[in-house]
């Protein structure tokens, strides 16, 4: 129904508006409805990194886009926390400072949500409380291996 959709939209938008400056260290973002009729309007994203004038997501850089998308996904989670969240190398386009901000957000949310994540980045691996190593000692055959933090970092690097 219209009212239900509008309520959900407003809640996610509010959270997104709050998360974006946290994860970017400033700036602003919001969701916009693309039509007046609530029952079939689409949703578009506006994002403005700190100090910039553009709001269209098309001009954002690779890292800025990934960070904006992460802020949106986490806003959806705030509203309706699914039992777990799986992130497969979402930090690949980020520089280390932004990987740090992403990790802070994940750590904060991990009080309510279970995270399973894949990364080659040392900073992200260090935030894990459990490490699962995967190897192919026998070519083509995956096997799980217990690893400690040093082995995990070495693995990501080899």
């Amino acid at each position: 129904t219209r009212a239900k959709f509008k309520e959900t939209f407003d809640q996610v938008n509010q959270t997104f508006e709050a998360y974006f400056p946290k994860i970017f260290g400033g700036g602003q973002a919001c969701l916009e409805l693309t039509g007046d009729e609530l029952l079939d309007a689409g949703i578009s994203v506006k994002a403005q990194p700190p100090g910039k004038r553009n709001t269209s997501i098309h001009v954002l850089s690779g890292g800025e886009k990934a960070l904006t998308a992460i802020a949106l996904v986490f806003s959806l989670f705030q509203l309706n926390p699914a039992p777990f969240c799986i992130l497969d190398e979402v930090d690949a386009p980020l520089d280390d400072a932004n990987v740090g901000r992403y990790c802070n957000l994940v750590k904060a949310m991990s009080e309510k949500v279970q995270f399973l994540f894949i990364s080659h980045n040392k900073i992200a691996i260090e935030m894990a409380k459990q490490l699962c190593g995967v190897t192919m000692h026998e070519p083509g055959v995956s096997r799980m291996v217990a690893v400690d933090i040093d082995e995990a970092i070495a693995m990501a690097e080899s």
């Binding site: 959709f5 309007a41 998308a69 799986i86 279970q114 894949i118 995956s142 799980m144």
Partner: protein
């Protein structure tokens, strides 16, 4: 932790029976390129009902069954089982009364997938129903595949709306 364990066997590169036990809310999967990390994510999406081979990087659904290496022959069956902790009763439907729920999917080369809930044969629809409304599903915002993070904001406005409605 809501998701307690993942059991894989004969699924993609996980030919031997493998158990992954999740003991924390912050679990990292690490390893070199091509070792099988994203195959674990595909396994989870497959068992909770993913029906499109293309979305699993496969040309046909039988491609998820281990198809051999230079030293090993292909096998005839893929099986994935997830075990959930349901003590908070969040997973819906008549299974809400169980403290632990296990979801399993088996596929043989010749045929259809078989689904099981706590060991009892069921339909795919029963699995989808369990997760309905929880924000979890084969293509929901709670599972972000490799390389897809930015697609969420690049999506067409009508597709982003569908994403949001899943949250409601």
């Amino acid at each position: 932790t809501p998701l307690k364990s993942i059991k894989l066997s004969g699924f993609k590169s996980f030919v031997d029976p493998t158990l992954i036990t999740l003991t924390s809310n912050l679990t990292a999967i690490v390893g070199p390129n091509g070792c099988g990390k994203s195959n674990v994510v595909d396994a989870i999406r497959w068992v909770i009902g993913e029906s499109s081979a293309k979305n699993l990087r496969a040309e046909s659904m039988a491609d998820v069954i281990f198809n051999g290496t230079t030293n090993r022959k292909p096998v005839g069956q893929a099986s994935i089982e997830l075990t959930f902790d349901n003590t908070d009763g969040r997973l819906s439907s008549e299974y809400a009364k169980y403290n632990e729920i296990s979801v399993r999917r088996i596929l043989q080369r010749d045929g259809q997938s078989q689904y099981f809930l706590n060991g009892t044969r069921c339909r795919r629809k029963d699995i989808l129903d369990i997760f309905l409304g929880t924000g979890l599903g084969p293509r929901s915002y709670s599972i972000i595949e490799q390389g897809m993070i930015s697609r969420i904001i690049e999506a067409k406005p009508e597709d982003l709306r569908v994403f949001l409605e899943e949250t409601a």
